[in-house]
Symmetry: C3
């Protein structure tokens, strides 16, 4: 484990994927490059590759997410891995076992990779550190979303999608709209866009949904969506978590939609060829209008397709390190 | 998609399996013929065939059914497919996503086949139409039971079972006993028996458990089980759903058993070589007596075995179209 | 089925693994011998062997246990079997189907092996007897824990672990500490140690946690842990089930830990090279102190690793019979 960056090994290769923050640009573009042939594999008749044959991939989901678990499960199976799904919310952790005892036990079953989803920020880091401290660096950890912290494969698939449609990051203006404060997706996107050299990253949100000091991440803050969308190349919408909708931070989903929901008449302020992303699952009529979600500028379903390829790329890179 | 029959493509081949109603007889017998070698595969040592290798089959269960899900999972795995089980009752649909957004997302993961179970009649049709409307006809939909509407693979495996024991449909008298009104199984059986040319199809039920106008399906109605069973070649019992037992339509399970439960002394009214079917799981002592269920005329366990082969046949036919 | 020992076939080969009680020593050592190469396979790059290719293994869990289910799932997948997980607590048994009807149905799906976990002692025996009575002896049953009765693969992996570290059973003193009365693990360990010729087996427990007549199993009873640990080669701790902690049999977890929890200052009474086992998941600070659990004498994680190999051995032996 590299002490300056716990995700990289001594040779500077990817050892774990815990967060996009601090990843060298070469690693990020390396993942995107590696994903490309996997999109072609997926379109072909034979989607099965033997790259992870005999490897045991554990989907360690301490927080339920069928969709994310499914994307990793498919990616691993297309690489011929053995996949074990563990929904830990309903299992041994309820038997009073600690997180690290659970990890130790699964590691002792000769795991090769842990895909970790956890409600607590930092849980995947903790696991990676523990594996390093106990001499089991051959097991890789992939963060599949931890608390409000990070969701790196989502950030990477968003970058893949942008690159697919816009080719070059160096001239882009990108706007992220919505609940920036609680969103691990937004955090991962901002880090990834910065690393890839996007010159202007905007966040568009009410004050109550912006973390303090967000400007230090290198973003421009807009509270007015009309101003924020003007002239952008890429519009990234965020899911508004249901638990926020009745909270103290927002008057109502309807109010949010009125002010920050992406509608066709707001989208015209962006460049005519602007693309629209959403990490899913969508709340239609809350953060995005159906006319936009189903419109010609939306690239929401390609995001899903690219997401499988990006996860195959990450997994095969980790397995081959 | 063929507009006269949305299950067939332009060449008249099976594209989806949504319902038995309206299927050409050649398609039905084609499935049964194709299933035959799969029963032999299953009996042999090597049950694994590469026909769906690299294909991704999604078990999309919006309504829980471990047994039906298991039969499709085994069938798909024996064809070497990658199988992803999605119990949607507890996942993204609770996150407010629409049915078609869920389908779009899974389709974008390069699904090849959806096995759909849903409490609402017509859900698999809706999905198939949506796939056609969005240019994704290469993804097949198999209805694994929708509301009170249809359960086509159950109907087909029942036909396979009858053909196995009786060889020829053209001389048979078949009786279906029980809760016809709420049974998607009964509906599928009646359509299948009609298509295959069974000259006399009887339904035996109290008035409260018969749908209005059932005669228009081409069946003879009996309220007295003794009359209805007289001289039949095949007796098809139906599961009485637990939720009906305390309902307004039935006095009690005991009363039902007394009047309509299949006992040995009623079964003697059928032909001596009559066979007895049940779709499972059985309520012993409600719709069927243990002496019959475990007796020599019951073919209930062969139904299960043939069911795997029939599902393998349907899947391989759809994948090869 | 051999009437004197329902686990063995006419040739004296293992047909089912239901309990360690009554197994010939040759069968027990045969399993341990067969497991050895599987530990090496697991350490190598290619963990996949084709021994169960095309076989269908059903994890029939009538009682939830993610950990045990996972160990069997991994073992079966590394042998290339198709694995079907059935959590029956939430499925067809709630539809009123009997245990044996469920078994009959799954058997009719051409199952090759049932891994059975059940809250009732004797359920796996009942299933094995039923399969024999209905002429389906080709399907093997592996008991994955039944009530308070038996957990044979746990007992076998414990024996594998002891043999790995101590080589020879014939000179050992082994102590089992904790809730002997409710523990299927303890029962399996005592039988296995006896069969393998361990000259002194001790049980250490308060009177309330010892079954009546335990001495008849050939063990020495100690109520004082200090006396019981003196000079032992192997210390086997047991999980204290949460439901016991508030029960009438124990004052509190804290009291239990004070009297029977394995701490470093108690462990010094054992031989200096004594090893410490625990079946997991651990209640740290109840039956075992962290200093011991994480100390150099603990072989708790090797137990897990050996457990996969032992299960692979059992499965491949049953499949090859």
């Amino acid at each position: 484990m590299n002490h300056r960056n716990p995700q990289l090994n001594k040779n500077g290769e990817l050892q774990h994927l815990l967060t996009i923050e601090g990843l060298p640009r070469g690693i990020v573009t390396g993942i995107l490059d590696r994903a490309k042939p996997f999109t072609e594999v997926a379109e072909g008749a034979a989607k099965k590759l033997p790259l992870l044959r005999g490897k045991s991939v554990f989907n360690l989901f301490f927080e339920n997410s069928t969709r994310t678990r499914t994307t990793f499960e498919i990616a691993a199976k297309r690489l011929s891995a053995d996949v074990i799904n563990l929904n830990i919310t309903t299992s041994s952790s309820s038997k009073g076992e600690t997180l690290l005892d659970t990890v130790d036990n699964l590691a002792a079953m000769q795991a090769d990779m842990f895909i970790v989803r956890h409600a607590s920020s930092g849980a995947p880091h903790l696991i990676a550190q523990h594996l390093a401290a106990t001499g089991r660096n051959h097991i890789s950890v992939v963060n599949a979303g931890d608390g409000r912290h990070s969701h790196p494969t989502q950030g990477l698939l968003d970058m893949y999608t942008i690159r697919h449609y816009k080719k070059d990051f160096s001239q882009l203006t990108v706007a992220i709209i919505g609940d920036i404060m609680h969103s691990r997706v937004a955090r991962s996107q901002i880090h990834a866009l910065s690393i890839l050299g996007v010159p202007e990253i905007r966040v568009i949100a009410p004050k109550t949904l912006l973390p303090g000091g967000v400007e230090r991440l290198g973003v421009r803050v807009f509270h007015d969506i009309h101003e924020g969308l003007r002239g952008v190349d890429v519009v990234m919408t965020l899911r508004l978590q249901n638990e926020r909708m009745q909270g103290a931070l927002l008057p109502s989903p309807q109010e949010f939609f009125k002010s920050y929901g992406l509608t066709a008449d707001k989208l015209v302020l962006a460049k005519p060829d602007a693309i629209v992303l959403h990490p899913g699952p969508m709340n239609r009529g809350v953060e995005i209008d159906s006319a936009v979600a189903d419109g010609s500028q939306a690239v929401i379903l390609p995001q899903v397709t690219f997401g499988i390829a990006v996860r195959m790329a990450v997994m095969s890179m980790l397995a081959g390190k």
